[in-house]
Amino acid sequence: MNSRNSISFSWLTGIGLASLLVFMEPATAADDQFKHAERLYDTYCTQCHGVNRNGNGLNSAFMSVQPRDHSDAKGMGDIPNSEIIDVIKKGGLAANKSVLMPAWGGVFSDEEVSQLAAYLRHVCKCGSDQ
């Protein structure tokens, strides 16, 4: 690459960064807040709840009870925070739901469970502390 190209390249990158900072700041901050929870969700939850978080995960085709649609504001909004936390930690049975929703308390710290619960509120864009 010659020097002229690299100059214009960094100049363009500069503009890109500046516009990111100007226009994207709120979104970026939110993404940072949920970064770890999002990673956890992608690793552990998408297998059943789906890459689009809508309950249509890879495994769902074979399941007798369908995983909850986490993008559904109404359905998710009706579940209190305490139940969401309980279900993630102790599994569906803890809330008289299906055993097909496993207990993750042996994998995550309490802090991570809270982060996931907050992240689910972000995904459903629904009620926070009911």
Binding site: T43, C48, L58, F62, P102
Partner: protein
């Protein structure tokens, strides 16, 4: 990927180096042909990022995990163990309704000659992993009535959400269970169900609270499943 391309790749990657290194000590064969995708010593880094980046399951405790006969056979003729590859999240995409496996993104496993498969299996069996990883002698080998085993695996414990017990029966994100009894040592099966996070830190199988009696039933069920397969 086109079949002929895969053939070309496996020839250039595997057959050629293997021919060159034939006669090397088995452990050298593993280092040269397998270490790029499999951890042969306990990794220091057990972060989630590492799990996302690793290209194949860890083999540093292979000697405490596999049945040697199975290894020799499978290395010559590898079949799919994890229907969605390793790791599933990198090989799924949204489908018409449910997410589906992005089949072209899966690679075919290197195939070994009989001689190399035997050498590799010998070397793998010496990698037993850290002391105490597996509960030796935990499995009591009590028969379980198949319908009872099925009920535990599917209904009571929800294992079928992630594991297939036969083609088309069960989830796709975990290894298939139809041949697990032939593949795995019973004490490994028992220990893995008891605490997958101890053996495979961060893996996307939960650590559940299961009594010894139920662990015995689940392990027996899995062992018996593949005995049934063998008779077919």
């Amino acid at each position: 990927m086109k079949p002929y391309l895969l053939a070309a790749i496996s020839v250039s990657f595997f057959t050629a180096p293997l021919a060159v290194h034939a006669g090397e000590a088995p452990a050298v064969l593993l280092q040269l042909e397998c270490a790029s995708c499999h951890a042969l010593t306990k990794p220091e880094n057990t972060s989630l990022d590492r799990l996302w980046e690793r290209k194949g399951p860890d083999l540093y405790y292979a000697g405490s995990k596999f049945n040697k006969d199975w290894l020799v056979k499978w290395l010559q003729d590898p079949t799919k163990i994890r229907p969605a590859g390793e790791f599933y999240r990198k090989h799924v995409k949204p489908g018409a309704k449910e997410d589906v496996v992005d089949e072209p993104s899966l690679t075919i496993h290197p195939k070994l000659t009989t001689k190399d498969a035997e050498a590799a299996a010998d070397a793998l069996m010496t990698l037993t992993g850290p002391e105490g990883l597996i509960e030796k002698g935990a499995f009591k080998n009590q028969k379980v009535v198949p319908s009872m085993g099925t009920m535990y695996f599917n209904k009571l414990r929800g294992c079928s959400a992630c594991h297939m017990t036969a083609p088309g029966k069960g989830g796709l994100s975990g290894p298939e269970m139809a041949t697990a009894g032939a593949r795995l040592q019973p004490d490994f099966i028992y220990s893995y169900i008891k605490d997958p996070q101890k053996i495979d830190k961060g893996i996307w199988m939960p650590k559940l609270d299961i009594s010894d009696a139920d662990l015995q039933k689940l392990t027996s069920y899995i062992v018996q499943l593949s005995a049934k397969e063998d008779k077919k």
